[in-house]
Protein backbone atom coordinates (compact mmCIF):
# COMPACT_ATOMS: atom_id res chain seq x y z
CA UNK A 1 0.00 0.00 0.00
CA UNK A 2 1.18 3.50 -0.84
CA UNK A 3 1.69 5.78 2.15
CA UNK A 4 1.82 9.50 1.79
CA UNK A 5 5.26 9.51 3.36
CA UNK A 6 6.79 7.14 0.82
CA UNK A 7 7.67 7.47 -2.87
CA UNK A 8 8.11 4.63 -5.37
CA UNK A 9 11.55 3.17 -6.05
CA UNK A 10 10.86 3.20 -9.79
CA UNK A 11 8.21 4.82 -11.96
CA UNK A 12 5.57 2.70 -13.63
CA UNK A 13 6.33 2.83 -17.35
CA UNK A 14 6.16 0.29 -20.14
CA UNK A 15 9.49 1.45 -21.55
CA UNK A 16 12.59 -0.66 -20.81
CA UNK A 17 14.76 0.49 -17.92
CA UNK A 18 18.07 -0.26 -19.58
CA UNK A 19 20.05 -1.56 -22.50
CA UNK A 20 22.68 -4.08 -21.39
CA UNK A 21 24.99 -5.40 -24.11
CA UNK A 22 22.30 -4.70 -26.71
CA UNK A 23 19.56 -6.44 -24.67
CA UNK A 24 16.41 -4.65 -23.56
CA UNK A 25 15.96 -4.92 -19.76
CA UNK A 26 12.38 -4.47 -18.53
CA UNK A 27 11.52 -2.74 -15.28
CA UNK A 28 10.34 -6.09 -13.86
CA UNK A 29 13.69 -7.73 -14.70
CA UNK A 30 15.49 -4.78 -13.08
CA UNK A 31 13.43 -5.21 -9.88
CA UNK A 32 14.32 -8.90 -9.78
CA UNK A 33 18.03 -7.98 -9.94
CA UNK A 34 17.51 -5.33 -7.24
CA UNK A 35 15.79 -7.76 -4.88
CA UNK A 36 18.43 -10.45 -5.43
CA UNK A 37 21.25 -8.00 -4.59
CA UNK A 38 19.34 -6.50 -1.63
CA UNK A 39 19.20 -9.96 -0.03
CA UNK A 40 23.02 -9.93 0.07
CA UNK A 41 23.30 -6.49 1.72
CA UNK A 42 23.31 -5.57 5.41
CA UNK A 43 20.30 -3.48 6.48
CA UNK A 44 20.57 0.31 6.70
CA UNK A 45 23.80 2.24 6.77
CA UNK A 46 25.61 3.66 3.78
CA UNK A 47 27.63 1.80 1.15
CA UNK A 48 30.07 2.84 -1.55
CA UNK A 49 28.54 2.44 -4.98
CA UNK A 50 31.59 2.02 -7.21
CA UNK A 51 29.96 0.15 -10.10
CA UNK A 52 31.33 1.30 -13.47
CA UNK A 53 28.58 -0.29 -15.51
CA UNK A 54 25.61 2.09 -15.36
CA UNK A 55 23.04 -0.72 -15.12
CA UNK A 56 24.88 -2.33 -12.23
CA UNK A 57 25.22 1.08 -10.59
CA UNK A 58 21.43 1.50 -10.86
CA UNK A 59 20.82 -1.99 -9.42
CA UNK A 60 23.22 -1.28 -6.52
CA UNK A 61 21.69 2.16 -5.91
CA UNK A 62 18.15 0.72 -5.78
CA UNK A 63 19.17 -2.33 -3.68
CA UNK A 64 20.85 -0.09 -1.08
CA UNK A 65 17.70 2.08 -0.96
CA UNK A 66 15.51 -0.99 -0.58
CA UNK A 67 17.57 -2.06 2.45
CA UNK A 68 17.06 1.38 4.00
CA UNK A 69 20.54 2.67 3.18
CA UNK A 70 22.25 5.37 1.10
CA UNK A 71 24.82 5.21 -1.72
CA UNK A 72 28.17 6.82 -1.00
CA UNK A 73 29.61 8.49 -4.11
CA UNK A 74 33.31 9.33 -3.66
CA UNK A 75 34.96 12.17 -5.65
CA UNK A 76 37.65 9.77 -6.89
CA UNK A 77 38.97 6.29 -6.22
CA UNK A 78 42.30 7.26 -4.68
CA UNK A 79 43.04 4.93 -1.77
CA UNK A 80 43.38 7.61 0.91
CA UNK A 81 40.19 9.35 -0.25
CA UNK A 82 38.22 6.10 0.10
CA UNK A 83 39.63 5.36 3.56
CA UNK A 84 38.96 8.92 4.78
CA UNK A 85 35.32 8.60 3.72
CA UNK A 86 35.01 5.04 5.06
CA UNK A 87 36.03 6.27 8.53
CA UNK A 88 32.81 8.31 8.63
CA UNK A 89 30.60 5.35 7.71
CA UNK A 90 31.41 2.43 9.99
CA UNK A 91 30.15 -0.83 8.51
CA UNK A 92 30.17 0.51 4.95
CA UNK A 93 30.66 -2.06 2.20
CA UNK A 94 31.77 -1.31 -1.34
CA UNK A 95 29.54 -2.49 -4.17
CA UNK A 96 31.84 -3.08 -7.13
CA UNK A 97 31.69 -4.68 -10.55
CA UNK A 98 35.38 -4.62 -11.38
CA UNK A 99 37.59 -7.52 -10.46
CA UNK A 100 40.87 -5.62 -10.29
CA UNK A 101 39.82 -2.85 -7.91
CA UNK A 102 42.11 -3.01 -4.89
CA UNK A 103 40.47 -1.48 -1.82
CA UNK A 104 40.50 -2.32 1.86
CA UNK A 105 36.73 -1.90 2.39
CA UNK A 106 34.67 -5.15 2.45
CA UNK A 107 33.43 -5.77 -1.07
CA UNK A 108 30.05 -6.92 -2.39
CA UNK A 109 30.45 -7.91 -6.05
CA UNK A 110 27.63 -6.81 -8.36
CA UNK A 111 27.13 -9.06 -11.40
CA UNK A 112 23.52 -8.19 -12.30
CA UNK A 113 22.81 -8.20 -16.04
CA UNK A 114 19.03 -8.35 -16.29
CA UNK A 115 18.82 -12.14 -16.53
CA UNK A 116 17.65 -12.79 -12.94
CA UNK A 117 14.50 -14.93 -13.13
CA UNK A 118 11.43 -12.87 -12.18
CA UNK A 119 8.41 -15.20 -11.77
CA UNK A 120 6.38 -12.55 -9.98
CA UNK A 121 7.65 -9.00 -10.13
CA UNK A 122 5.28 -8.00 -7.27
CA UNK A 123 4.36 -4.49 -6.26
CA UNK A 124 6.78 -1.61 -6.84
CA UNK A 125 8.71 -1.05 -3.59
CA UNK A 126 8.11 2.22 -1.74
CA UNK A 127 10.92 4.17 -0.08
CA UNK A 128 10.36 6.57 2.85
CA UNK A 129 10.52 10.15 1.58
CA UNK A 130 12.92 11.25 4.32
CA UNK A 131 15.30 8.32 3.85
CA UNK A 132 18.84 9.48 3.02
CA UNK A 133 19.49 8.21 -0.52
CA UNK A 134 22.93 9.49 -1.40
CA UNK A 135 26.03 10.97 0.22
CA UNK A 136 27.89 12.68 -2.64
CA UNK A 137 31.40 13.62 -1.58
CA UNK A 138 33.51 16.42 -3.00
CA UNK A 139 37.19 16.75 -2.31
CA UNK A 140 36.43 19.88 -0.26
CA UNK A 141 38.58 22.89 0.49
CA UNK A 142 39.14 22.18 4.17
CA UNK A 143 41.35 19.12 3.91
CA UNK A 144 38.65 16.51 4.35
CA UNK A 145 36.16 15.23 1.78
CA UNK A 146 32.82 17.01 2.24
CA UNK A 147 29.49 15.15 2.13
CA UNK A 148 26.46 16.52 0.30
CA UNK A 149 23.54 14.32 1.26
CA UNK A 150 20.17 14.05 -0.45
CA UNK A 151 16.95 12.44 0.72
CA UNK A 152 14.81 10.28 -1.55
CA UNK A 153 12.11 13.00 -1.78
CA UNK A 154 14.74 15.49 -2.92
CA UNK A 155 15.95 13.22 -5.75
CA UNK A 156 12.32 12.68 -6.80
CA UNK A 157 11.69 16.44 -6.88
CA UNK A 158 14.71 17.39 -9.00
CA UNK A 159 14.09 14.51 -11.42
CA UNK A 160 10.45 15.53 -11.91
CA UNK A 161 11.54 19.12 -12.61
CA UNK A 162 14.22 18.07 -15.10
CA UNK A 163 12.03 15.54 -16.96
CA UNK A 164 9.44 18.28 -17.44
CA UNK A 165 12.00 20.90 -18.51
CA UNK A 166 13.63 18.68 -21.15
CA UNK A 167 10.41 17.09 -22.38
CA UNK A 168 11.74 13.69 -21.34
CA UNK A 169 8.67 12.91 -19.23
CA UNK A 170 6.70 12.34 -22.42
CA UNK A 171 9.39 11.44 -24.96
CA UNK A 172 11.51 9.00 -22.98
CA UNK A 173 14.10 7.46 -25.27
CA UNK A 174 17.60 6.20 -24.59
CA UNK A 175 20.09 8.18 -22.53
CA UNK A 176 23.63 7.93 -23.89
CA UNK A 177 25.80 9.18 -21.02
CA UNK A 178 29.51 9.98 -21.11
CA UNK A 179 29.56 11.02 -17.44
CA UNK A 180 30.08 8.53 -14.62
CA UNK A 181 27.04 7.67 -12.48
CA UNK A 182 29.07 8.57 -9.36
CA UNK A 183 28.97 12.24 -10.33
CA UNK A 184 25.81 13.99 -9.04
CA UNK A 185 25.00 15.18 -12.58
CA UNK A 186 25.55 11.65 -13.88
CA UNK A 187 23.32 10.16 -11.19
CA UNK A 188 20.50 12.64 -11.86
CA UNK A 189 20.65 12.71 -15.64
CA UNK A 190 21.57 9.14 -16.60
CA UNK A 191 20.17 7.00 -13.77
CA UNK A 192 17.26 8.86 -12.15
CA UNK A 193 15.72 9.94 -15.50
CA UNK A 194 15.40 6.22 -16.22
CA UNK A 195 14.36 5.06 -12.73
CA UNK A 196 11.78 7.80 -12.19
CA UNK A 197 10.91 8.67 -15.79
CA UNK A 198 10.19 6.80 -19.01
CA UNK A 199 13.82 6.94 -20.22
CA UNK A 200 16.08 3.96 -20.88
CA UNK A 201 19.66 4.04 -19.63
CA UNK A 202 22.60 2.60 -21.51
CA UNK A 203 24.78 0.35 -19.34
CA UNK A 204 27.94 1.14 -21.27
CA UNK A 205 29.69 4.48 -20.99
CA UNK A 206 30.91 5.49 -24.46
CA UNK A 207 34.19 7.37 -24.25
CA UNK A 208 35.81 8.03 -27.64
CA UNK A 209 33.86 10.09 -30.20
CA UNK A 210 33.31 7.04 -32.40
CA UNK A 211 31.87 5.12 -29.39
CA UNK A 212 29.46 7.99 -28.76
CA UNK A 213 28.47 8.16 -32.44
CA UNK A 214 27.84 4.39 -32.50
CA UNK A 215 25.73 4.46 -29.30
CA UNK A 216 23.64 7.36 -30.64
CA UNK A 217 23.18 5.51 -33.95
CA UNK A 218 22.19 2.22 -32.27
CA UNK A 219 19.46 3.92 -30.24
CA UNK A 220 18.48 6.81 -32.52
CA UNK A 221 17.05 9.20 -31.74
CA UNK A 222 18.73 9.14 -28.30
CA UNK A 223 19.60 11.90 -25.85
CA UNK A 224 23.29 12.58 -25.31
CA UNK A 225 24.14 13.44 -21.68
CA UNK A 226 27.64 14.81 -21.71
CA UNK A 227 30.16 17.51 -20.79
CA UNK A 228 31.79 20.37 -22.75
CA UNK A 229 34.96 18.26 -22.72
CA UNK A 230 33.39 15.31 -24.56
CA UNK A 231 31.24 17.54 -26.77
CA UNK A 232 34.36 19.36 -27.92
CA UNK A 233 36.04 16.04 -28.78
CA UNK A 234 32.96 15.04 -30.82
CA UNK A 235 33.07 18.35 -32.70
CA UNK A 236 36.74 17.82 -33.57
CA UNK A 237 36.41 14.15 -34.60
CA UNK A 238 35.27 14.80 -38.18
CA UNK A 239 32.49 12.18 -38.02
CA UNK A 240 28.98 12.11 -39.46
CA UNK A 241 26.42 12.02 -36.66
CA UNK A 242 23.07 10.22 -36.47
CA UNK A 243 19.71 11.76 -35.71
CA UNK A 244 19.82 12.83 -32.02
CA UNK A 245 16.88 13.77 -29.77
CA UNK A 246 18.74 16.32 -27.65
CA UNK A 247 22.09 17.08 -26.08
CA UNK A 248 22.37 17.85 -22.37
CA UNK A 249 25.62 19.30 -21.04
CA UNK A 250 26.85 20.18 -17.56
CA UNK A 251 29.91 20.20 -15.24
CA UNK A 252 31.60 23.19 -16.90
CA UNK A 253 30.41 26.24 -18.84
CA UNK A 254 29.75 25.53 -22.51
CA UNK A 255 30.81 28.29 -24.89
CA UNK A 256 28.00 29.61 -27.09
CA UNK A 257 29.90 28.93 -30.35
CA UNK A 258 30.51 25.32 -29.26
CA UNK A 259 26.81 24.91 -28.48
CA UNK A 260 25.91 26.33 -31.90
CA UNK A 261 28.41 24.05 -33.64
CA UNK A 262 27.03 21.02 -31.77
CA UNK A 263 23.46 21.93 -32.73
CA UNK A 264 24.46 22.12 -36.40
CA UNK A 265 26.45 18.89 -36.31
CA UNK A 266 23.88 16.82 -34.39
CA UNK A 267 20.80 18.58 -35.79
CA UNK A 268 19.24 19.10 -32.39
CA UNK A 269 18.92 21.38 -29.37
CA UNK A 270 21.74 21.65 -26.85
CA UNK A 271 20.51 22.23 -23.29
CA UNK A 272 22.91 23.17 -20.54
CA UNK A 273 22.17 22.45 -16.88
CA UNK A 274 23.20 24.79 -14.10
CA UNK A 275 23.80 23.15 -10.78
CA UNK A 276 26.27 22.91 -7.98
CA UNK A 277 27.16 20.25 -5.48
CA UNK A 278 25.45 22.19 -2.71
CA UNK A 279 22.02 22.52 -4.40
CA UNK A 280 22.01 19.99 -7.25
CA UNK A 281 20.58 20.93 -10.65
CA UNK A 282 18.35 24.01 -10.42
CA UNK A 283 18.24 25.68 -13.85
CA UNK A 284 18.91 25.24 -17.55
CA UNK A 285 19.33 27.20 -20.78
CA UNK A 286 19.53 26.62 -24.51
CA UNK A 287 23.07 27.89 -24.78
CA UNK A 288 23.10 28.47 -28.54
CA UNK A 289 20.38 31.12 -28.14
CA UNK A 290 20.15 32.02 -24.45
CA UNK A 291 22.63 33.53 -22.06
CA UNK A 292 20.15 33.67 -19.18
CA UNK A 293 19.53 30.59 -17.06
CA UNK A 294 15.91 29.62 -16.38
CA UNK A 295 15.10 28.07 -12.99
CA UNK A 296 13.31 24.72 -12.96
CA UNK A 297 9.59 25.02 -12.11
CA UNK A 298 9.03 25.33 -8.38
CA UNK A 299 12.47 26.78 -7.62
CA UNK A 300 13.09 30.35 -6.53
CA UNK A 301 16.02 32.61 -5.68
CA UNK A 302 16.31 34.93 -2.71
CA UNK A 303 18.81 37.77 -2.50
CA UNK A 304 20.17 38.09 1.03
CA UNK A 305 22.73 40.73 0.16
CA UNK A 306 25.02 41.64 -2.74
CA UNK A 307 27.31 38.72 -2.10
CA UNK A 308 24.80 36.07 -1.20
CA UNK A 309 21.95 34.55 -3.17
CA UNK A 310 20.12 31.46 -1.99
CA UNK A 311 18.08 28.95 -3.94
CA UNK A 312 15.17 26.89 -2.70
CA UNK A 313 12.80 24.36 -4.20
CA UNK A 314 10.86 21.34 -2.98
CA UNK A 315 14.14 19.39 -2.95
CA UNK A 316 15.79 21.76 -0.46
CA UNK A 317 14.64 21.52 3.18
CA UNK A 318 16.35 24.88 3.71
CA UNK A 319 17.58 27.64 1.38
CA UNK A 320 21.00 26.82 -0.10
CA UNK A 321 23.57 29.55 -0.75
CA UNK A 322 24.86 29.40 -4.34
CA UNK A 323 28.66 29.35 -4.58
CA UNK A 324 28.72 31.31 -7.84
CA UNK A 325 28.44 34.97 -8.66
CA UNK A 326 24.79 35.31 -9.71
CA UNK A 327 22.89 38.29 -11.09
CA UNK A 328 19.11 38.03 -11.08
CA UNK A 329 17.24 39.15 -14.18
CA UNK A 330 13.68 38.42 -13.04
CA UNK A 331 11.86 35.90 -10.86
CA UNK A 332 12.78 32.95 -13.04
CA UNK A 333 15.99 33.96 -14.83
CA UNK A 334 19.55 34.81 -13.87
CA UNK A 335 23.07 35.34 -15.21
CA UNK A 336 26.06 33.44 -13.92
CA UNK A 337 29.29 35.43 -13.73
CA UNK A 338 31.67 32.70 -12.76
CA UNK A 339 32.91 30.47 -10.06
CA UNK A 340 35.18 31.54 -7.23
CA UNK A 341 38.80 31.51 -8.41
CA UNK A 342 39.66 28.69 -6.04
CA UNK A 343 37.49 26.23 -7.97
CA UNK A 344 39.31 24.32 -10.69
CA UNK A 345 37.56 22.37 -13.40
CA UNK A 346 39.52 19.87 -15.48
CA UNK A 347 37.54 17.85 -18.02
CA UNK A 348 34.40 18.37 -15.95
CA UNK A 349 35.92 17.33 -12.63
CA UNK A 350 36.15 19.87 -9.87
CA UNK A 351 38.73 20.47 -7.20
CA UNK A 352 39.74 23.24 -4.89
CA UNK A 353 43.11 24.83 -5.61
CA UNK A 354 43.67 25.50 -1.92
CA UNK A 355 43.03 21.86 -1.12
CA UNK A 356 45.40 20.62 -3.84
CA UNK A 357 48.12 22.95 -2.52
CA UNK A 358 47.51 21.69 1.00
CA UNK A 359 47.83 18.08 -0.15
CA UNK A 360 51.04 18.87 -2.06
CA UNK A 361 52.64 20.57 0.93
CA UNK A 362 51.59 17.74 3.25
CA UNK A 363 53.84 15.28 1.40
CA UNK A 364 56.86 14.46 3.57
CA UNK A 365 59.98 15.99 2.01
CA UNK A 366 58.09 18.74 0.14
CA UNK A 367 59.43 22.01 1.58
CA UNK A 368 57.21 24.24 -0.50
CA UNK A 369 55.01 23.79 -3.52
CA UNK A 370 52.24 25.42 -5.48
CA UNK A 371 49.87 24.34 -8.25
CA UNK A 372 49.44 26.58 -11.29
CA UNK A 373 45.94 26.49 -12.86
CA UNK A 374 45.82 26.10 -16.64
CA UNK A 375 45.27 29.11 -18.85
CA UNK A 376 41.50 29.21 -19.43
CA UNK A 377 42.06 30.71 -22.88
CA UNK A 378 44.09 27.75 -24.10
CA UNK A 379 42.20 25.64 -26.66
CA UNK A 380 41.82 21.91 -26.86
CA UNK A 381 41.76 19.14 -24.33
CA UNK A 382 45.22 19.68 -22.94
CA UNK A 383 44.39 22.01 -20.13
CA UNK A 384 46.66 20.78 -17.42
CA UNK A 385 47.68 21.82 -13.99
CA UNK A 386 51.37 22.47 -13.53
CA UNK A 387 53.18 22.57 -10.22
CA UNK A 388 56.38 24.09 -8.93
CA UNK A 389 57.91 22.25 -6.02
CA UNK A 390 60.92 22.63 -3.74
CA UNK A 391 61.71 19.13 -2.48
CA UNK A 392 65.45 18.41 -2.68
CA UNK A 393 65.14 14.93 -1.17
CA UNK A 394 62.20 13.64 -3.22
CA UNK A 395 62.07 12.61 -6.87
CA UNK A 396 59.36 13.75 -9.26
CA UNK A 397 57.98 10.20 -9.40
CA UNK A 398 57.81 10.00 -5.60
CA UNK A 399 55.91 13.28 -5.38
CA UNK A 400 53.45 12.20 -8.08
CA UNK A 401 52.91 8.81 -6.40
CA UNK A 402 52.23 10.51 -3.06
CA UNK A 403 49.74 12.90 -4.70
CA UNK A 404 48.01 10.02 -6.50
CA UNK A 405 47.11 8.56 -3.08
CA UNK A 406 44.65 11.41 -2.52
CA UNK A 407 44.07 13.03 -5.88
CA UNK A 408 42.22 12.18 -9.06
CA UNK A 409 44.71 11.49 -11.91
CA UNK A 410 43.29 14.44 -13.88
CA UNK A 411 44.69 16.82 -11.25
CA UNK A 412 48.21 15.41 -11.18
CA UNK A 413 50.53 18.20 -12.37
CA UNK A 414 52.32 18.16 -15.70
CA UNK A 415 54.90 19.47 -15.80
CA UNK A 416 56.06 19.22 -12.23
CA UNK A 417 58.97 21.64 -12.02
CA UNK A 418 61.63 21.26 -9.32
CA UNK A 419 63.21 24.43 -7.93
CA UNK A 420 65.48 25.21 -4.97
CA UNK A 421 62.99 27.67 -3.52
CA UNK A 422 59.73 29.24 -4.63
CA UNK A 423 59.80 32.92 -5.59
CA UNK A 424 57.61 34.03 -2.68
CA UNK A 425 57.07 37.73 -2.06
CA UNK A 426 57.42 39.43 1.32
CA UNK A 427 53.77 38.62 2.08
CA UNK A 428 54.37 34.94 1.37
CA UNK A 429 52.42 34.95 -1.87
CA UNK A 430 53.78 33.65 -5.15
CA UNK A 431 52.94 36.13 -7.92
CA UNK A 432 51.21 34.32 -10.78
CA UNK A 433 53.36 36.07 -13.38
CA UNK A 434 56.54 34.76 -11.76
CA UNK A 435 55.13 31.25 -11.86
CA UNK A 436 54.18 31.63 -15.52
CA UNK A 437 57.71 32.88 -16.28
CA UNK A 438 59.13 29.81 -14.57
CA UNK A 439 56.81 27.58 -16.62
CA UNK A 440 57.85 29.38 -19.77
CA UNK A 441 61.57 28.97 -19.09
CA UNK A 442 60.94 25.34 -18.36
CA UNK A 443 59.23 24.61 -21.67
CA UNK A 444 61.97 26.42 -23.61
CA UNK A 445 64.62 24.26 -21.96
CA UNK A 446 62.83 21.03 -22.69
Amino acid sequence: MRHSNTLPLIADHSTPLAWVAGRRISRAAFLADVRALARRLPAGGAHFNLCEDRYRFAVAFAAILLRGGASILPPNRARTTLSEIAERHPGAHALVDERDLSITIPVVPVTADGTEHAPNPGATPEIPTDQMAVHAYTSGSTGQPTAHSRRWSSLHAVTTQALRRFGLGTDGGTLVGTVPAQHMYGLESTVLYALLGPCTLLAERPFFPDDIRQALADHAPASLVTTPFHLDACLRAGLTWPDTARVISATAPLERDRAQAAETLLGTTVCEIYGCTEAGAVASRETARESLWRLYDGISLTTLNRERITVQGPQHPEPVALPDRIEREDAQRFRMHGRPADQLNIAGKRASLAELNRRLNAIPGVLDGVFIPPDPKQDGGNRRLAAIVAAPERSEAEILAALAETTDPLFLPRPLIRVDALPRSATGKVPRQLLLDLLDQHSQCA
Binding site: E204, P206, F207, F208, P209, D210, D211, Q214, F229, H230, A233, R236, A237, G238, L239, I346, A347, G380, G381, N382, R384, L400, P409, L410, L412, R414, P415, H442, S443, A446
Partner: protein
Protein backbone atom coordinates in the same frame (compact mmCIF):
# COMPACT_ATOMS: atom_id res chain seq x y z
CA UNK B 1 56.32 4.26 -38.52
CA UNK B 2 56.86 3.65 -34.80
CA UNK B 3 58.87 6.88 -34.56
CA UNK B 4 56.16 8.72 -36.47
CA UNK B 5 53.54 7.57 -33.93
CA UNK B 6 55.91 8.43 -31.08
CA UNK B 7 56.20 11.95 -32.52
CA UNK B 8 52.39 12.15 -32.76
CA UNK B 9 52.08 11.18 -29.07
CA UNK B 10 54.62 13.76 -27.93
CA UNK B 11 53.16 16.54 -30.10
CA UNK B 12 49.47 15.93 -29.47
CA UNK B 13 49.92 15.60 -25.71
CA UNK B 14 52.51 18.36 -25.30
CA UNK B 15 54.85 16.02 -23.45
CA UNK B 16 57.53 18.60 -22.92
CA UNK B 17 59.70 16.33 -20.81
CA UNK B 18 59.85 13.48 -23.31
CA UNK B 19 61.33 13.18 -26.79
CA UNK B 20 59.93 10.64 -29.27
CA UNK B 21 63.14 8.60 -29.09
CA UNK B 22 62.74 8.25 -25.33
CA UNK B 23 59.44 6.37 -25.55
CA UNK B 24 60.27 2.72 -25.07
CA UNK B 25 58.39 0.69 -27.69
CA UNK B 26 57.24 -2.00 -25.25
CA UNK B 27 56.64 0.17 -22.16
CA UNK B 28 53.07 0.94 -21.06
CA UNK B 29 51.81 4.35 -22.24
CA UNK B 30 49.32 4.85 -19.42
CA UNK B 31 49.69 4.91 -15.65
CA UNK B 32 53.10 3.49 -14.69
CA UNK B 33 54.73 4.22 -18.04
CA UNK B 34 54.30 7.72 -19.45
CA UNK B 35 51.60 8.34 -16.85
CA UNK B 36 48.93 9.26 -19.37
CA UNK B 37 45.25 9.34 -18.39
CA UNK B 38 41.78 9.60 -19.87
CA UNK B 39 42.19 13.17 -21.18
CA UNK B 40 45.31 12.01 -23.00
CA UNK B 41 43.56 8.95 -24.40
CA UNK B 42 40.87 11.14 -25.92
CA UNK B 43 43.37 13.67 -27.28
CA UNK B 44 45.53 10.91 -28.74
CA UNK B 45 42.50 9.25 -30.36
CA UNK B 46 41.62 12.56 -32.07
CA UNK B 47 45.19 13.00 -33.30
CA UNK B 48 45.26 9.45 -34.66
CA UNK B 49 41.97 9.91 -36.52
CA UNK B 50 43.27 13.14 -38.07
CA UNK B 51 46.65 11.72 -39.06
CA UNK B 52 45.65 8.21 -40.16
CA UNK B 53 41.84 8.18 -40.49
CA UNK B 54 41.66 5.42 -37.87
CA UNK B 55 38.90 5.77 -35.24
CA UNK B 56 39.77 4.39 -31.81
CA UNK B 57 36.85 2.63 -30.10
CA UNK B 58 36.62 1.60 -26.46
CA UNK B 59 34.07 -1.15 -27.01
CA UNK B 60 36.80 -2.85 -29.00
CA UNK B 61 37.80 -5.91 -26.98
CA UNK B 62 41.43 -5.08 -27.63
CA UNK B 63 41.28 -1.56 -26.28
CA UNK B 64 43.62 -2.14 -23.38
CA UNK B 65 45.95 -3.86 -25.79
CA UNK B 66 45.88 -1.01 -28.30
CA UNK B 67 47.12 1.50 -25.74
CA UNK B 68 49.36 -1.03 -24.01
CA UNK B 69 52.52 0.29 -25.67
CA UNK B 70 53.84 2.35 -28.55
CA UNK B 71 54.44 -0.87 -30.50
CA UNK B 72 50.88 -2.14 -29.95
CA UNK B 73 49.38 1.23 -30.88
CA UNK B 74 51.48 1.41 -34.06
CA UNK B 75 50.44 -2.12 -35.02
CA UNK B 76 46.77 -1.24 -34.50
CA UNK B 77 47.03 1.87 -36.67
CA UNK B 78 48.85 -0.02 -39.43
CA UNK B 79 46.31 -2.85 -39.43
CA UNK B 80 43.30 -0.58 -39.59
CA UNK B 81 44.78 1.78 -42.09
CA UNK B 82 45.47 -1.17 -44.37
CA UNK B 83 41.93 -2.53 -44.27
CA UNK B 84 39.97 0.72 -44.42
Amino acid sequence: MEQEVARLIVDSLNLEEVSPEQIEPEAPLFREGLGLDSIDALELALAISRAYGVQIRSDDENNRQIFASLRALTAHIEAHRATS
